[in-house]
């Protein structure tokens, strides 16, 4: 048996078996209650014989009532009874001999008083068949015998006997169900000259029922759940008694999780303490199972203590999912309203089974079962499939707080690799909570790459669509299958490695995913197909990390030396795309164009329209870069046409975003129509939102300006502006200013002024549409700075300054002043004269923009120092 499946030691909490020193050593968090009981005993001792203070200690099961009885016993044993003896009689926890006959309780106490140390008491106190009609007489007789026993037992009949009766509520129900019997009991408890104090423990009511004779006949002491601090103290006391050092910080964090999990039930703290030492999640789960099993009786009783309606409500809470508000619960059980279940909820809380916490986002109180082992037990016993199939699933909330995220991830990975996929996946997903993988190239484009890889496979991997669907839904199963399979040749192994990497990535194990591919690259540098598959998988993986562009380019460039013609065509298309992209990155646009064109041809040959459209789109980029604008425009037209034809919406959007680079320089007729189309596509397909997030409105605006299609642009903004600014806040780039200056340089001052006059209110409008936190407050200054640098026409500078009205931006005035001063500087024969009288801050900006030298050279080092003579 491995350590992972061995439960930590589970012992039932038997206080009767614990040594006195153990009891004292680990007693925790009950000082106030202990003092109350000892105070009552002391008052009873002082009053005896007389009216004694009887006590009932209330507490839910497992809250330490028996433990407290032992503590009292020990304390009384150590007490110096200068004022007469106090004898402590602890009745056995369960009293099956006491049935039907109320007087049997008195007889039992009498027997114990007389023969406490021998087993005669056990034999003598046997059950007697009840005789109807004699209850009263027998009770009186038994009471008299008990008085005699007290006379004998106490020296000179003086002193006090404390009789501890556990589960007194049960005893009342079995022995004193008849009202007159309970009346007799009350009368007996408060008879004159009494020397016997009752110290009862109970879970349910003993003295709370107004209509019962014992109503408010006791001093009541209540055991409340332990606080987290109590639990920590307990763990440390226990460790100290075992010679272990106190909990260190990580262990304490775990101990807090345990404390939280058990809802402050001391019995569970004792039983679950061992878990803190455990590293292994499955053994924690096994311990929980063992605990739930061992505590079955305990939990069953806790449930049985509840009345039927209360029990039903608890069931609805656990089955329907926690936490839940009272209103929600009322709906769940079909009650008429929260009022109807309020009483039952109060009982559940009074029994310390559920606890309410205020919801942070509303005024509601949300309820959960405090003891999570209890909830676990309940799910197991009530036939929850999840609880049975995945041991960890039902203690998720525990694992969540017990392990750090790193631990969850590490354990998760280990289980996945050990073949315990369900557990592994569960812990892995736990580690990923709140940090779900965003969309990226590595994951999103995998289906297309996989299609290409499978064209080289020698074994059947099944349908790509199905495989990808399973990868998304149950990556752990796909992982397991791939790891168990060894069919096929090296190529198949490489494909499997990519699938394994994808599975691991989807379960949050990015680093391990990468290792899967790297490992295979290292062992398979020989076969070209294998190399290409792994390379194609490795590059986008790194893409998803963003920061490895150069390395990726380097890797892709290795393909240039390979004889790619040997590859299966579809795989070759992908290889060309990767190679072409690298060439483009390196500025080798002509070579890139050639490679992309090969990709287009090949895709056409194999009839893969998707790869054709991708390759075509890629071709347009080097065409633009090479200044072959009309050919680039034609290519984009083809791309849009083909994308529409094969309804490849994502490629349509990518193409639109790509083409903006060109359209900002060259008028691209129809750009605003494409914009409208792209927006409709993105809005209708939430899965493409990620693409829409790359759409820069200021680029579209300049493209529309260039094409003279501003009205159509305005129409799109009017309809979709709110949505658009929420996808990506509208930025303004410095380059936009250059674009505008370029228009003026090319078509004259009037054209430049018109362009600026069209742009400014539209950019301001986009900012106004944007929710406040996302607004770009410096957009005007950003735009004007590079416009100012690129524009050397003082007249235009002044004209544009005239456009900068305060309604555009609070920065308008400062920007206008800059442009005007710049015009003055540009016009001046000796710019320095103007600059020297100018606001020094603005002068500094102008010097930077125009590359003018600073008026004074920087002070030499040490120049400021004066030497004293």
């Amino acid at each position: 048996m491995t350590s992972s499946s061995r439960p930590a030691i589970v012992r039932t909490f038997m206080t009767h078996e614990m040594s006195d020193s153990d009891i004292v050593a680990v007693s925790t968090g009950r000082e106030a209650e202990f003092k109350r009981i000892m105070g009552a005993i002391s008052r009873s001792r002082a009053a005896s014989p007389g009216t004694l203070q009887h006590v009932v200690l209330y507490g839910s099961r497992g809250f330490g009532k028996s433990f407290m009885m032992r503590r009292v016993e020990i304390a009384l044993g150590q007490h110096d009874h200068g004022d007469g003896p106090v004898r402590f009689l602890l009745l056995p926890e369960e009293q099956h001999n006491l049935q039907k006959n109320p007087y049997a309780l008195l007889t039992y106490i009498t027997v114990l008083l007389k023969q406490q140390d021998s087993d005669a008491a056990f034999e003598e106190a046997k059950f007697q068949w009840p005789k109807p009609g004699e209850a009263a007489r027998r009770w009186t007789e038994a009471a008299e015998k008990l008085e005699q026993a007290l006379d004998h037992s106490l020296p000179n009949g003086q002193g006090l006997v404390v009789v501890a009766v556990e589960n007194f509520d049960t005893l009342l129900a079995t022995l004193f169900a008849e009202e007159e019997d309970e009346q007799r009991l009350r009368e007996w408890l408060f008879r004159s000259g009494n020397r016997l104090m009752l110290l009862a423990t109970a879970t349910g009511t003993v003295d709370m029922d107004y209509d019962r004779p014992l109503f408010q006949a006791f001093e009541t002491v209540r055991l409340t759940p332990w606080t987290t601090e109590d639990c920590i103290t307990y763990f440390n006391r226990k460790r100290e008694s075992e010679g272990k050092p106190p909990l260190d910080a990580p262990q304490e964090a775990k101990a807090r999780a345990v404390a939280e999990f058990i809802g402050g039930t001391p019995r569970l703290a004792q039983l679950l303490g061992e878990v803190i030492e455990t590293e292994d999640a499955l053994s924690v789960s096994a311990t929980m199972d063992a605990l739930a099993d061992r505590l079955a009786e305990y939990y069953r009783r806790r449930i049985e203590d509840l009345s039927p309606l209360v029990r039903g409500l608890l069931d609805a809470l656990i089955r329907g999912g926690e936490p839940a508000s009272q209103t929600e619960l009322a709906q769940r059980v079909g009650a008429d309203g929260q009022n109807q279940i309020a009483r039952a909820m109060a009982d559940l809380q009074r029994a310390d089974i559920v606890r309410g916490r205020s919801a942070l986002d509303s005024r509601e109180t949300l309820y959960t079962v405090t003891d999570r082992v209890f909830a676990h037990y309940y799910r197991l016993r009530q036939g929850s499939r999840t609880a049975r199939a995945t041991p960890l699933a039902s203690i998720l909330d525990f694992l969540r707080s017990f392990y750090t995220r790193d631990e969850q991830r590490t354990h998760g990975l280990r289980y996945l690799m050990d073949g315990r996929v369900a557990q592994g996946a569960l812990l892995s997903r736990l580690a990923m909570e709140g940090m779900e993988i965003g969309q990226n190239f590595f994951v999103d484009e995998f289906p297309h790459r996989l299609q290409a890889y499978l064209s080289a496979a020698t074994v059947d991997f099944g349908d790509v669509g199905l495989l990808v669907k399973r990868l998304n839904e149950e990556p752990e199963q796909v992982l397991q299958e791939c790891r168990q399979s060894s069919a096929g040749v090296e190529i198949d192994t490489a494909i499997r490695a990519t699938i394994i990497a994808q599975s691991l990535y989807r379960l949050g194990h990015a680093e391990e995913a990468k290792q899967q591919i790297v490992k295979e690259i290292q062992v398979s540098n020989v076969d070209l197909t294998v190399y290409v598959i792994l390379l194609l998988e490795y590059i986008p993986f790194r893409c998803s990390k963003r920061s490895h562009l150069k390395k990726n380019v380097e890797l892709s460039m290795t393909l240039k030396e390979k004889e790619l013609e040997q590859l299966p065509p579809l795989l070759r298309v992908h290889a060309y795309q990767a190679l072409g992209w690298s060439l483009g990155y390196l500025g080798r646009h002509a070579e890139a164009l050639e490679v992309f064109r090969s990709a287009v041809d090949l895709a056409r040959q194999v009839g893969d329209r998707r790869e054709e459209v991708v390759s075509l789109r890629l071709t347009a980029s080097p065409l633009s870069k090479l200044g072959l604008y009309s050919e680039a425009l034609q290519t984009y037209a083809l791309v849009f046409g083909l994308a529409r034809k094969i309804t490849n919406l994502s490629q349509f959007l990518y193409a639109f975003i790509d083409c903006l680079l060109l359209a900002q320089r060259v008028p691209m007729p129809g750009i605003s129509g494409l914009f409208a189309e792209a927006v409709l596509i993105a809005r209708a397909n939430p899965s493409l939102a990620v693409v829409a997030m790359h759409l820069d409105l200021h680029e579209v605006l300049i493209a529309a300006l260039q094409a003279g299609e501003l009205d159509a642009f305005d129409a799109v903004i009017a309809e979709h502006g709110d949505w658009l600014v929420n996808q990506r806040p509208p930025y303004v780039f410095r380059e936009d200013g250059e674009h505008l200056a370029a228009i003026a340089a090319k078509d004259g001052r009037m054209a430049g002024w018109r362009a600026m006059a069209s742009m400014l209110p539209r950019l301001a409008h986009l900012q106004a549409l944007t929710p406040d936190p996302n607004r770009n407050r410096t957009w005007l200054r950003t735009l004007m700075t590079l416009f100012a640098r690129a524009c050397r026409d003082p007249g235009l500078l002044r004209d544009v300054a005239g456009l900068l009205t305060p309604d555009l931006s609070p920065e308008a005035e400062a920007s206008a002043a800059l442009l005007r001063d710049l015009a003055r500087v540009d016009e001046a024969d000796v710019p320095e004269r103007v600059l020297s009288r100018m606001d020094p801050d603005r002068a500094l900006v102008i010097r930077r923009l125009r590359g003018l030298p600073d008026p004074e050279p920087p002070r030499r080092q040490g120049a400021g120092r004066k030497t004293r003579r």
Partner: protein, 381 residues
């Protein structure tokens, strides 16, 4: 600490907080009438007051016998207990046994003294004889005062075991005996008015007894109580004020409960009292008491006709809302007799109480801080 506090039952001696005026009033009532009935809420100090009366009887050497109605379920139970206590009053008992020679009474005494079996049916059959014998003997020489604690519990047992007729017979006989000089002090935590209504008993049988009510402590008394139960070295006036502010009722049991929770020798910080009461006292103790009012109020809904809506609730609302004690004439209800009966019922059940002015007009007010707290908490105001 002069007062040794106790929670759970009647107390005497060092455990009892003296209420001289109240005790004096009870003693006077006992001596000036056929006797006293003291029925009302549980745990408000009736039994303690009864114990106090007994002490006074002892002091004055007035003979009495005291028995507890709890656990008694039949006429023979009651008679056996009474007679057994009268054994020490041999003269009177012998006289009675002579008078009742032909009744089962001697057998009953024998049954008790010699342990021979006794049949309840015999007592039933010869009850008239037994009752008359007691009547005759009492006229000749009054027997010791009969004190029965939890008398209404016994009557309740009797009714449930044997039906209302037997209980009515006993109540009628007891009234006759009182007329012949058997003085009685009957106490109980179940209201006899309510029992009578519930089981169709004739509550006229108790009309000759003086009703005695145990009020809450006044605030001054409550301060004295707290002062007596605590140690001046550690307990400050701030503690007292905080406790009085938080406690829902001024009955001794509420004060004791509160003191036990906050500690007496080393009390907790007065600033924490509000939390202690909110967490430990009110949800338990007060709730238990409040339930009593809930149940009674619910039981009234079963009253015949529309009495609950037309009389009971309007009267309760009027009394609870009034800032000054309310004259009966100002209260709702068309028929004055009907109204008076309802007022008595509400009084016995602890909802309201009254003062009587010089012109014998009763003025009604809420019976306690506790009932006011209940009224508020239940949103009835």
């Amino acid at each position: 600490m002069r007062l040794k506090i106790h929670y759970g039952t009647a107390v005497t001696g060092e455990q009892r907080f003296a209420r001289p005026a109240l005790e004096q009033r009870l003693n006077e009532a006992m001596q000036s009438s056929n006797g006293v009935k003291m029925f009302g809420l549980r745990r408000i100090g009736k039994s303690t007051l009864r114990e106090c009366a007994i002490e006074e009887l002892k002091r004055q050497k007035i003979p009495y016998v005291s028995l507890d109605g709890q656990g008694l379920t039949s006429l023979s139970d009651f008679m056996t207990k009474w007679m057994s206590l009268l054994l020490k009053e041999q003269n009177w008992l012998q006289g009675l046994l002579r008078t009742a020679a032909k009744s089962p009474l001697p057998l009953l005494v024998d049954a008790f003294t010699k342990g021979t079996p006794f049949d309840e049916t015999a007592l039933d059959a010869y009850w008239q004889g037994v009752s008359s014998a007691i009547l005759d003997s009492s006229q000749a020489e009054p027997p010791p005062i009969l004190i029965v604690d939890e008398f209404s519990m016994f009557i309740d047992n009797l009714v449930r075991r044997h039906g209302p007729d037997k209980a009515n017979r006993l109540l009628a006989s007891m009234r006759e005996w009182r007329g012949a000089g058997v003085r009685m002090l009957l106490t109980g935590s179940i209201g006899m008015q309510w029992l009578a209504r519930e089981h169709c008993l004739n509550h006229e049988h108790l009309n000759d007894l003086q009703h005695f009510e145990v009020p809450e402590l006044t605030e001054t008394e409550a301060r004295e109580f707290i002062c007596a139960a605590t140690d001046a070295a550690t307990w400050t006036p701030a503690h007292t004020e905080a406790l009085l502010r938080e406690t829902g009722g001024l009955y001794p049991c509420f004060l004791v409960k509160a003191l036990l929770e906050v500690g007496m020798a080393q009390p907790k910080d007065p600033a924490d009292f509000a939390t202690i009461f909110a967490d430990c006292v009110r949800p338990n103790l007060h709730e238990d008491f409040f339930r009593q009012f809930d149940r009674r109020l619910k039981a009234y809904a079963k009253l015949p006709g529309n009495q609950y809506r037309e009389i009971v609730v309007p009267i309760l609302k009027a009394v609870m809302a009034a800032e000054e004690p309310c004259p009966a004439d100002n209260l709702p209800g068309a028929d004055p007799l009907d109204r008076a009966e309802v007022l008595d019922m509400l009084k016995e059940d602890g909802f309201i109480t009254c003062t009587v002015d010089a012109s014998y007009k009763r003025k009604w007010k809420p019976a306690s801080r506790l009932v006011q707290a209940w009224w508020m908490q239940r949103g009835l105001a």
